[in-house]
Symmetry: C2
Subunit: 538 residues, 2 copies
Amino acid sequence: MESEEFGSSVRLFASMVKSDQTNKIYNPKHPPHVERPKAKLTEQAEEVDVSAGNYGALPLIQSVDYTHKRYYSLSELSLSVAEPVWIRARVHNTRFKGKLGFIILRDTVHTFQCTLFLSDQVSRNLLKFASDITKESIIDVYGTLKATSQPVQSCSINNMELETTKVFVVSKSQASLPFQLDDAGQPMTLEQAENERDEDQAEEGGRARVSQKLRLNNRVIDLRLPTNQAIYRVSSGVCQYFREFLIQNGFVEIHTPKLIPGTSEGGTEVFKVDYFGRQACLAQSPQLYKQMAVMGDLERVFEIGPVFRAENSNTHRHLCEFVGLDLEMAIKEHYFEVLEMIHGMFIHIFKGIETHFATELQTIYKQFPFIQPFQYTEKPVWLTFHEAVALLNEAGNPQSVHADFNTATEKQLGAIVKERYHTDFYVVHRYPQEARPFYTMLCADDPEFTNSYDIFMRGEEIISGAQRIHDPAMLRQRAIFKGIDVSTIKDYLDSFKFGAHPHGGCGVGLERVVMLFVGLKNIRWTSMFPRDPKRISP
Amino acid sequence: MESEEFGSSVRLFASMVKSDQTNKIYNPKHPPHVERPKAKLTEQAEEVDVSAGNYGALPLIQSVDYTHKRYYSLSELSLSVAEPVWIRARVHNTRFKGKLGFIILRDTVHTFQCTLFLSDQVSRNLLKFASDITKESIIDVYGTLKATSQPVQSCSINNMELETTKVFVVSKSQASLPFQLDDAGQPMTLEQAENERDEDQAEEGGRARVSQKLRLNNRVIDLRLPTNQAIYRVSSGVCQYFREFLIQNGFVEIHTPKLIPGTSEGGTEVFKVDYFGRQACLAQSPQLYKQMAVMGDLERVFEIGPVFRAENSNTHRHLCEFVGLDLEMAIKEHYFEVLEMIHGMFIHIFKGIETHFATELQTIYKQFPFIQPFQYTEKPVWLTFHEAVALLNEAGNPQSVHADFNTATEKQLGAIVKERYHTDFYVVHRYPQEARPFYTMLCADDPEFTNSYDIFMRGEEIISGAQRIHDPAMLRQRAIFKGIDVSTIKDYLDSFKFGAHPHGGCGVGLERVVMLFVGLKNIRWTSMFPRDPKRISP
């Protein structure tokens, strides 16, 4: 792309620090001796280049100058800005023909058009340089904002454009991309989205233009998709509102160890680690440690951190590493105190996202036009397990009160609740003891059932929680009853012997919450670098 | 402790659900048949017990009643509350003699006195019951707040007390404790605190009353120490202000994988994990992934999460698992943009803690009266590596500009800077390339030095950071030069080929920041469940 038009000193420096594609080791002990070029860009090819010094490849940005020059991000652009502006953004696309050219810039979820036309301010050389810029390169442009007479079809910012007089390349992309972002960003049908549930989706019919596997293998480029820009901003917002509500309610943030001596939940598979010659495990949840923090009088605690599950599950909703949003709190009387806290917290999250991430939600819906926005009620919808079973049975779905729901039953229940209560967000509580871990408090009136709850979004479980057993003798007995080797959890069991707060809590999967709030079909859309039994890279 | 005075039905129920210390499995399929007792507590031992029904062991709190009864926490108590109040808190101590008794309650960093005296509202039976309550038990008390004529010596809330007429035990502690909190909470001398640097401290001279090992082995009780209550609240606050500042400045929270295929930093030891038959590692930092997120156009990102170091270092400042506060951001021109962001962020954190955690800081200083509060200046103090070396040399400390500081030199520099600039918080930048990882951008004017920085608190490093290399060819060359197997970081290297943002960032160790801001001597005081080569439990 670098042709003879551009300042030779710029090219000399750039080739010194950048373009050496050989394997020669860049050894700072023997740097080539070159003068650093001045900012002035000269131009020789035309008789008089009116754009001389107004285009070219910038030297590698290496913290030489610090001018505090103001750059506008695309979201800051406004027609009320009269003076010319500098913008640094990524090249989404270019289109040049004769005396006219367009560069579409992209920045997060926004796209925006720069126009260049041959004039007394824009030379043929500048047009040639700009037309050679590869997609995905990062560039600086300078010009004046102008209203457009009709909306710019291909851009999200469509009421204005930049009449551009300067173009510099900050970082050039290689020309060949693993896939085109425009292809990956095509609106999907419901069928295509459903097929995204399987990474190894079949080639034929109802397939997205760019396979999920190809996208995930090139995740850095995939993340640039406006849909992904939106998803990870929403994900950040969910964490923010989760914490905001809890801190307002007196919770303390804790960080529990991920390297632990035993298993944290018993039963399911754990990842094993060699810890200085001893065997350790990766925590499957902060469960035991957050309870210990409550017994240590932190009373109301939360944690956001990774949890690890070595389950060989290849489904649309399982990951081997995901982000757990955990909370645990002392209660005075009843696990309803925890459920009320969780309800208030989720309403805070939902409203926060709807209010402050509306552009992001719209960006996602643009690619998935079939998505129904998430529906919820301020008044909680809490069903006992018995009531949920009755609803299922009434609708012709056989379900016992002594067995947990399976995924299909949960989906059916979700449809029934949605029709009856007009909500995608609801609670089922008092699960049978068979379905819950050893540390779950039994119901006083019927120890076949427990003071536990699951919370659902769009018919899929996102939260499990319960009042926990705080009596050490009862806890030990329940652990033995459930087949746990109590010697591996001695420290945990002991922590209830010195005065124990009645308490309860829950664990939430961040990726599931985002997937289901937004309405996506595969959890790999909401995990930045997903880990499943088949995937550990990038 | 349970004597014949107390209601028999209460005892019957309590023994059923609680006190069964045998190994009999508590099987909910065959629960013993008992009636749940009514709340009424009867009393037979005296002719007429004026306190009948006003004391006793409560049934196990099992979510039976939900009365929404208001409980006051100790921090909410005020003499303007005229009506009687309920308080639930932990028994810190009791003292009974004849017709008079005191119960000292504890709740987070606060202690508070309840008085009981024989009267027409308080019976001898109630006094007897209360005097038998073990330390660390959780109890409900009811009474009226009264001003005290003189300050209560032994309590942090010393201008009032509770004239108590009802006492119920919520959860009884076993009588023997691994150590006494009053002993562990004794004010320390500087010598004692310095000796805390070593977990296996010698028995003789200058030793804390309760050894660090004993405290850490019984961490749940140790956490109840007001000093620890304060430390983990301050720690939570540091995270809160870290995020608050970054979110205000357009950063997005990310979560990068901890299970990764290669090592993240090269060189230092990593923990190995079996990942479905393949070998994986635990990430030593989110370094490569947060840079990839920036290349994925998230542009400004932060993460709070665990980082893992399999270093066999047994020092006062190393942990095998700690909490990393990481940020990474695109820059326009200069790494000073990152340093300015970091400076603003730390001023925000320091002020936030000083303002909103003043009680916590005072609580900590009470145990460590020798601590000088942290000193900092709003105006940044940034020294180049050359300037720092010159200061050291002037003061008679030999130090080359081509080798990294060691811990002792850093301490010396800290003392010099403190004297000259009156700050415990400062930056050294432009480190020699020998001292920095492969991905650090070299200085344009002298590639023996780098666009990097360390940040210090009280003469100890808390942050390492730099502008990173965003040119793929240069990055590859530097990786080879530093002896990295580039095949293990292919995805990372490739992510710079498709247009790369100039960028920089840093990683902060949370436990170190809290330790050094507060002025503690051992990082094990600021890690809730510390992990070092010798310790992986509790």
